[in-house]
Amino acid sequence: MTENTPTCCQEYAANTGMSRRSLLKSGLAAAGVGVSTSLFGSTFLQASYGATRQAGNVLVLLSLRGASDGLSLVVPHTDPAYYAARPGIAIPKAALLAQDATFGLHPKLAPLLPMWDAGKIAAVHATGLPAPNRSHFAAMEELEDADPGSSARVGWINRLIGQDTYTHPLQAIGMGMSVPITALYGPQRTVSAYSVDSLALAGDDQWDTAHRRRTSMNTMWAAAGGVLGTGGRTALSAITDFGPVRSTSTTPANDASYPDGDLGRALQAAARIVRGNVGTDVIAVDHDGGWDMHTGLGTLDDGLMIRCADELASALAAFFTDLGTLGDKVTVVTISEFGRRVQENGDFGLDHGYGNVMFLLGAGVKGGHYGTMPALENSLDADVPVTTDYRSVLAEVVTKRLNASSAAVFPGFTPETIGAILV
């Protein structure tokens, strides 16, 4: 539904032939006057959370918004129902990558083949919510709250970082997002930001030698109430705390090349956060790139799926290339609010379904296929059933990689063992 958005914005910016930021900063020299008196220097208030700590293992949660079609990403090529249900959009067996006796990968996932072949990618099949919920918004809420027994709106990432005594807001970061996702919501402060380089206070510059701008802003926001007040103070403190991240190179390492678009930008920022080593345990990234393919999912020649799959694989491959050996502590999990129907509709698309595939990539992952993929049914309403609760997959990652307690992160839930995480 949004396939034109990035293009549109790029075109719009390109058409003006200018960088917004450079324009915003131009002319600031006019403000350059040092004011000699410092009347209120002693009232400087730093919203303080203490120092950041050394980072341990990092979980990157990549949410594919809009409900991705798992059957197109990892095709069960021996199931005749798959081909019968999708005369217009099924992917021919011959085109599939990394084929085994049951599955093969979408050809546009090619950039991830080296990692797949190295056993660093696991696909967990037929995962999802314990009961179907075909509403994007309600499903996302349920998925990210992950505590069906409670009416409090607290996301599972927020519970995860709330388990230790470390309370720095950089412990969990939503990157590439101005609006935090539900998984981050809750009593623990977190940071959501669109980009690394935007984390600066306008006017707090080299000409403000008496630090009047920063001092006065700290005073104004020191006692401001409610969510807004917290937001102001967190923002002012994040400017300082993000320093090591801002100091990392804006050029990816190891000749990594990210695809254009929000996902590539967000993952590149995520790599800088890991490199900056500011005590971040979890980085949440969204891919809101058009997965809701009711119409025009398409074929291998044309349509939305080839575009989305290519962007996803290219961005993830670039991310791990960029990280290099730092990737040894980074595990990526992909998730989507639900899967799509088995049978295609009249618009070369797929309506809302149920079960879906989750990918695990990187550190600690034992590559291959996991979960149980039942035989598909070719009927109008048939879904991929769910045979593995998505929380089992997340629980394995957070317990084995982040030493968290599954019971605290997913209250009232007893996870099954997937076996896709070694350590």
Binding site: N4, A31, R65, S135, M177, Y194, G203, S216
Partner: protein
């Protein structure tokens, strides 16, 4: 969860007022300011004078609810600044196909116009409500299939924004823009596309709490089959009787034999039913309360507004009148956080920036789109059908806060945008040739925030500039010469300006 633990009003009341004030710059009482902050693009001294001239906020509000009494020339004159905003949809699509004005430009032009209207229109309450419904019946401005029809969609909503919800629901649900966006334009009895049928229930009317089933969703989609748009070729909308699914349908308590291949009557009966469903009444009441009262309105308030809505046959204006009469509304001043577009609109108004017909892409009337983007979201740029979030926890991220501070600073300094924008000169902010710093700060607070300066604002202003309360300010003073960007930012970056 409180949005502002202490409202700005309470905070101001518990601190001492500045030593000297500048009462010659008139402000209204706090209730009037509260209504203005919620139902307009934001405070201006001109609006304050207008309210006073008409005889008070209640008379002003009543008049605003009858927009035909108020001049609408700004709507048409500003609409004509861009080629597509007042144009017929098929003409717009033709021009896009010919690459004269591509669809992504068409979308951008609508986005900027929607903000310009809210900054400059005399029909402030109508514009506020038009934006409210456009967010409710969200169709993104993203240059995709719906873009050619998006202008007409917005104009249609504005026309009906203070009318009856059932009329509005019928107009938007059968509009080509929504059909193209949610797949109903190509949904047929042979292969129904469930998307709009589901979102109609979940987002536009009853909500998931109504307890409809997947069978209800399917029936909802079947009822809507037939409203086609030829997305492959001519883009002409038409009702396709050969596509309409016939046979008995049942959605919640709605049943219909649906025997005719012309399903327009069953569509209307169904939408009229949904508009009057108690779950719709509560949902619309709650959405209005969240937007105009607080992030967590009481159930009693929601039920009260729902009752008014149903008692008035889904008419919208009586609900708004009831809303502003409640105690809960009255004591909710400053409890809503401005969204990015609301921030930009209020900032142009507060600074009194004149906006001219754009002659180039970086003119203010176009550039305000990037200003919104820098804060976090362009108007109707939310990519999912649920519309942008409207609560404080969504709009207080690090990016949002620092983005707002950056945009404010650039405008306070008159650095960007520069083309097509007329700013007040630094000296023009002085209300008289010479006055104390604290009186100047009070004048600025009244001008920009619509309220006297608090002791905290004065302290922050002193810290930001280095001048004490008794400093005498003239047009040749170094404050006016150099430091006005930092001083004006104090007000724009305050919790009072970021909230409404």
């Amino acid at each position: 969860m409180t949005v502002l633990g202490t409202s700005p009003r309470t905070a101001a009341a518990t601190t001492t007022t500045p030593v000297t004030t500048y009462p010659a710059t008139k402000v209204l009482d706090l209730r009037s300011l509260h209504i203005i902050n919620r139902f307009t693009g934001g405070w201006t001294r001109g609006l304050g004078a207008q309210v006073t001239a008409i005889g008070g906020i209640d008379k002003w509000f009543a008049r605003q609810l009858t927009p035909s009494l108020i001049s609408d020339t700004y709507y048409t004159s500003s609409g004509a600044w861009w080629p597509s905003n007042l144009a017929d949809s098929l003409t717009t699509i033709e021009r896009a196909n010919a690459d004269i004005e591509p669809l992504w430009e068409v979308s951008a032009h609508y986005q900027t116009w929607s903000m310009v209207r809210r900054i400059g229109s005399q029909r402030q309450v109508l514009e506020t409500m038009a934006a409210f419904w456009e967010h409710h019946f969200h169709v993104p401005t993203d240059g995709s299939e719906s873009a050619g029809y998006r202008q007409d969609y917005g104009r249609t909503i504005r026309k009906l924004a203070l009318g009856r919800f059932d009329t509005l629901l019928n107009a938007v649900s059968t509009h080509p823009a929504m059909g193209a966006y949610l797949g109903n334009a190509t949904s047929s009895k042979y292969s129904p596309n469930e998307n709009q049928g589901r979102e109609l229930l979940e987002l536009h009317t009853v909500g998931t709490a109504a307890g409809y089933t997947e069978n209800d969703v399917k029936a909802s989609a079947r009822i809507l089959t037939g409203w086609s748009v030829d997305l492959w070729d001519t883009w002409v909308p038409s009702y396709r009787t050969d596509w309409h699914w016939t046979g008995p349908v049942k959605v919640l308590g709605f049943t219909h034999p649906n025997t005719s291949t012309d399903g327009r009557a069953v569509t209307k009966a169904y939408l009229d039913y949904l508009a009057r469903h108690p779950a719709t009444a509560r949902r619309i009441a709650r959405k209005l309360a969240v937007h105009f009262v607080s992030d967590n309105p009481s159930n009693a308030l929601v039920q009260h507004l729902a009752t008014v809505y149903l008692a008035n046959n889904t008419a919208i204006a009586p609900v708004l009148k009831a809303l502003i009469a409640t105690t809960e509304f009255r004591y909710a001043g400053g409890r809503k956080v401005r969204t990015p577009e609301e921030d930009i609109i209020a900032t142009y108004r507060a600074l009194g920036v004149g906006i001219a017909r754009p002659t180039q892409d970086n003119a203010a009337a176009n550039a305000m789109l990037w200003q919104c983007d820098q804060i976090g979201l362009t108007p109707f740029g939310w990519t999912r059908p649920d519309g942008r979030p409207d609560t404080a926890d969504a709009w207080t991220s690090v990016s949002r806060m620092l983005g707002s501070f950056d945009v404010h600073y650039s405008m306070a300094g008159r650095w960007w945008p520069t083309v097509g924008a007329t700013y007040k000169s630094p000296a023009a902010w002085l209300p008289q040739t010479s006055l104390r710093f604290d009186r100047f700060v009070d004048h600025l607070s009244r001008s920009i925030l619509g309220r006297p300066a608090s002791a905290l604002i004065l302290k922050v202003a002193s810290q930001a500039t280095g001048f004490g309360a008794a400093a005498i300010i003239t047009k040749d003073h170094e404050l006016i010469k150099w430091q006005m960007p930092r001083l004006l930012s104090v007000f724009l970056d305050s919790p009072q300006h970021l909230a409404r």
